[in-house]
């Protein structure tokens, strides 16, 4: 009879950001281990709150699936004499494994004939298998950061305080970090008075659902998330508003509580005169509240907030009073910082950048600003920006790091710069660029709103990457304290997915960057090597971006191999190929096969030291098939180049695909490697012309057909 399995690992409060990862690992590890151990089950689901990681597996077989075990003995010649009678070797082998000698079987193997004992091993009982599997699974869970807390120095995300492990009604017994598994679970810490400490004893795994329900815990994160969102909407509606729900905050709040209960609080109207962004940041980031907007006007903030408590407090008024007090104190702090900052002339703030370090050995933020101004000069030329505004934006972009406000609320960097720039009467385009230059904050999030902002975002990342790579500060494994991986991914995204990316080549950007930096900073490493390392780092990020955009592995390799100096074009080329492959797989594959014939033969010819020209000598064209190919190549060249120029790589691919039949006829009818050197060279030169076109899209040899 199959049974259900419950595992609940009770912990002290796991950080919200650990939970989603831990739960998906728990599911995968458990499923893998059960399969590996041949323990059949129906389904496996995981659930969790800050204080418990839960797995529920249904239909677990009572025993492992029987295993056919083969034990190899001596060779046949050793085991039987000429009469076919078992020798002492055979008898010994049988005895050693406790079987009768007539149960031995002869089997052929790669290495000859051997005698075997074939035994169906009855599977171990599930209870026993699980008592080994479960602690291993728990041990293998990984967290962004681990800690020690008890005598065995076991490492986990937070201390483990109890473990429930039941198969049906039986305890799966094991011990980990000094905690012995059992059937006792605990409720919300404070429900019903903490000393009473609600706890419950489970008779069997299936009891769990009723028990957590009685304890008032919502173990399913999805259900909790819905509850949180419902609370927020309903409470906001009660004051004619709607909550501003950002997905990250919703997720975090969901993982901060075991039993969501929402309350609507309000703050003094007078704080509404502070900038909205500031108010929202304080509410969201510092207090994990949902801000409330007017229902019919999302631009107007209402003097309310929504707090999600861990369970319904007995005295809602007290809780609200406490929260209001903290929120208003934070607002006071912000108002104080804002007022203090405004006493300092904007120019003086920029002087303070001289005392804020960028990276040890890489100067201060004032030095960085100087470099960014030079870089913006170059970018303004390349992108056709207003030079004055571009340089001014660079000059101002880091000034807010010297403000009290950013010191208090680091997440407002950028926004504060834009805000103060506006107050200082700067051009709006400049202010927006300053505000936006940290964007995208993460891959896939909002991009800067104007071209100067894009340029500044590119310049900033380029400077950080070059200087840090020069100092060997590259990220290793998951360790990336300077956020260089994010800087590189977002740089790639800026180049690939904004209009200005069209005008920029990576090689130019790197040359400009290295030149400007080497004038200001003593480079510690060979710039050529740094440049190579950085380029291949960026290539990996671009590959990831392409993967995220749904490009197949072979197409990514083919496009990257043909170059990605213009990052935007590289992504467009890959997307075009993906689209063509999807629309018409057969044509696509045929064209690729034909192209590969071209590139392969050229590859071989180069290896043999054959030379080729850029021009084709028409006088040397002898066969019909080569004349035809030559004519077609000449014919399509114009439209192909135009399509490439216009970045319409789909059309360019279709244009050059028209050559496919002619290419195939050429290879069928014409001997490329003609004994006559001049003919041979002419034919190779014709193919090289095609190859030149192909390489503007991809290295087609890397594409699977």
């Amino acid at each position: 009879m199959a049974k259900n399995l419950l595992l609940e690992v009770g912990t002290e409060e796991l950080p919200a950001r650990f939970l989603a990862g831990a739960l998906s690992q728990l599911k995968n590890l458990l499923e893998e281990s059960l399969q590996e151990k041949s323990l059949v089950f129906e389904s496996c689901r995981t659930f969790g709150t800050p204080r418990r990681l839960v797995a529920f597996v249904t239909g677990v077989a009572e025993q492992q699936t029987p295993l056919l075990r083969e034990i190899r003995g001596p060779t046949r010649q050793q085991a039987y004499d000429q009469d076919g009678k078992p020798t002492t070797a055979a008898l010994g082998f049988a005895r050693a494994h406790g079987v009768a000698v007539d149960q031995l079987e002869v089997r052929k193997t790669d290495r000859g004939e051997f005698v075997f004992i074939v035994r169906e091993e009855k599977g171990q009982p599930a209870l026993q298998v699980l008592s080994e599997v479960l602690p291993q699974v728990i041990r293998r869970l990984s967290f962004p950061k681990t800690m020690r807390w008890e005598a065995t120095n076991f490492r986990f995300g937070r201390p483990i305080r109890w473990i429930v492990a039941l198969l049906g009604s039986e305890i799966i017994s094991f011990e980990i970090a000094g905690v012995v598994s059992g059937r006792r679970t605990f409720g919300r810490r404070l429900a019903g008075g903490f000393k009473a400490g609600l706890e419950a004893t489970l008779n069997c795994a299936d009891d769990y659902w009723t028990v957590v329900d009685q304890l008032g815990i919502v173990i399913d994160p999805e259900a909790r998330k819905e509850m949180v969102a419902r609370f927020a909407v309903r409470l906001a509606q009660s004051v004619g508003g709607r909550p501003e729900i950002d997905e990250d905050l919703l997720e975090e709040v969901t993982f901060l509580v075991e039993a969501p209960y929402g309350l609507l609080g309000s703050f003094d109207d007078r704080f509404l005169s502070l900038p909205k962004v500031l108010l929202k940041t304080v509410m969201r980031h510092h207090q994990r509240y949902f801000p409330v907007l007017r229902y019919d006007d999302a631009k107007t903030l209402l003097p309310h907030f929504i707090v999600i408590c861990n369970g319904k407090p007995e005295d809602e008024e007290k809780v609200l009073k406490g929260n209001k007090r903290v929120l208003e104190a934070r607002f006071e702090d912000a108002a104080f910082s804002l007022a203090e900052d405004q006493k300092v002339p904007f120019v003086d703030l920029s002087l303070r950048l001289r005392s804020i370090v960028f990276q040890e050995g890489l100067g201060t933020m004032a030095d960085k600003t100087q470099r960014l101004m030079k870089m913006m000069g170059k970018l303004a030329q390349r992108m056709g920006l207003d030079l004055g505004k571009a340089i001014r934006a660079a000059e101002l972009c880091k000034v807010d790091l010297a403000t009290r406000l950013v010191n208090e609320f680091t997440e407002l960097q950028g926004w504060v710069g834009g805000h103060y720039a506006r107050q200082n009467g700067e051009d709006e385009e400049v202010a927006i660029a300053v505000e936006d230059h940290y964007k995208p904050l993460a891959p896939g999030t909002a991009l800067p709103r104007n071209r100067i902002g894009v340029a500044l975002a590119i310049a900033d990342r380029l400077d950080t990457l070059i200087t840090c790579f020069d100092r060997q500060l590259m990220p290793t494994g998951s360790h990336d304290p300077l956020g260089l991986r994010r800087a590189a991914s977002t740089l790639v995204q800026l180049l690939a997915e904004t209009e200005p990316g069209k005008h920029l080549r990576l090689s130019d950007l790197l040359s400009d960057g290295f030149q400007i930096i080497s004038e200001a900073v003593l480079l510690s490493d060979d710039p050529q090597q740094t440049r190579q390392r950085l380029t291949s780092f960026l290539e990996t990020r671009l590959d990831t971006l392409m993967e995220e955009r749904g490009i197949d592995y072979d197409l990514r390799r083919a496009v990257l191999a043909a170059g990605f100096d213009n990052v935007r074009a590289a992504l467009l080329r890959a997307q075009a190929l993906q689209e063509e492959r999807k629309k018409n797989p057969v044509t696509f594959s045929d064209a690729v096969t034909a192209f590969t014939r071209v590139t392969n033969i050229l590859f071989q010819a180069r290896q043999r030291g054959e030379s080729m020209n850029d021009a084709v000598n028409t006088d040397l064209l002898m066969e019909a098939a080569e004349t035809e190919l030559y004519q077609m190549v000449t014919q399509i060249a114009g439209s192909f180049n135009k399509q490439v120029e216009e970045e319409d790589f789909g059309a360019a691919f279709r244009t050059i695909s028209e050559l496919a039949p002619a290419i195939n006829r050429f290879f069928d009818d014409v001997l490329v490697m003609h004994p006559e050197e001049s003919v041979r060279r002419n034919r190779l030169s014709l193919l090289k012309r095609i190859e030149n076109c192909l390489l503007q899209i991809a290295d087609f040899r890397k594409i699977e057909t």
Partner: protein, 304 residues
């Protein structure tokens, strides 16, 4: 509830948990962690439980007594439990009930917040404890001190008594808190808070501070070299405070700042290593006297 009553009640509670009630360190420190009762005692295998009030100074946090939420001089109530009992969170929560906070009426959360003190080479993992949205305590499982991995780890509970008192009394700001019947926190500290800010930010003589730092550093180096651990550590704390003053005077360039931190860190590291060596040579005396520092409820479990 008054401020002094709050401190008394916290001491009473933790006395009941078998803590040694130490008194504040008579040297300027930035946090209760720097008291030898924490910084040195968390090292090595000897069990240890202590609780004490520690006046703390962070010159940079001053706001000339204008901002009711920011002070350069304030108090910490510090608890160390080594090794931590399994129900350490519950014990902590019952300390709040002991202060008259009925937990079921409120919203309590443990929100991730790891902690690090670079000058001491110390780090830990834990939470801020939120009471109705207000951070009232830092709760940390110490993992490292003086660059040394701790075994066993200690739990450090650091209450912010001003915040707790604000919560309990409903006073509008810290200066209005009743310290004792008829006298407020402001009446005791406001003027000195203002003067200290003036001194820290504007008046402290920079060249004297630079000289003092060097002198204390030399002294710490010399006496640590002679194997006098606590005096050496105290001279290190002096360096740390003078560094903080230099920092609030705004005279350290970023590079210098980093270098100064490293200089203090190095002395702290030597003091911690020296302490551990010294205790080992003494045969870790508190390992034998375990009963005197363990919780009474544990002791009563033993057959008499």
């Amino acid at each position: 509830m008054t401020f002094q009553k709050l401190l008394l009640e916290l001491q009473r509670f933790w006395e009941g948990q078998g803590c040694v009630l130490l008194q504040p360190l008579d040297i300027e420190v930035g946090a209760g962690t720097m008291h030898p009762g924490t910084a040195l005692r968390v090292l090595g295998p000897e069990p240890w439980r202590t609780a004490y009030v520690q006046p703390s100074r962070r010159p940079n946090d001053g706001r000339y007594a204008e901002n009711p939420n920011r002070l350069q001089h304030y108090y910490q109530f510090q608890v160390i439990l080594k090794p931590p009992p399994n129900d350490v969170q519950e014990i902590y929560l019952s300390s709040l009930e002991h202060l008259g906070i009925r937990l079921t009426e409120h919203d309590i959360r443990f929100v991730e917040d790891d902690w690090e003190a670079p000058t001491l080479g110390a780090s830990g993992v834990g939470w801020e404890v939120w009471l109705d949205g207000m951070e009232i305590t830092q709760f940390t499982y110490f993992q490292q001190m003086g660059g040394i991995e701790l075994d066993p780890v200690s739990v450090e509970i650091t209450y912010g008594p001003e915040r707790l008192a604000l919560f309990l009394t409903g006073a509008p700001d810290v200066f209005a808190l009743p310290w004792a019947e008829g006298i407020t926190y402001g009446e005791i500290h406001r003027r000195s808070e203002y003067e200290a800010c003036l001194y820290n930010f504007d008046k402290a003589d920079v060249s004297t501070l630079f000289t003092l730092f060097d002198l204390y550093e030399q002294e710490a180096d010399r006496i640590l070299g002679e194997g006098l651990i606590v005096p050496g550590f105290e001279a290190t704390l002096k360096c740390s405070h003078i560094f903080n003053l230099l920092d609030s005077r705004g005279v350290l360039s970023v590079m210098e700042r980093t270098r100064y931190i490293k200089r203090v860190q190095e002395l702290a590291r030597r003091a911690c290593q020296g302490y551990l060596r010294q205790r080992e040579e003494m045969g870790f005396p508190l390992l034998k006297g375990t009963a005197t520092v363990s919780a009474p409820q544990r002791a009563s479990d033993c057959p008499s």
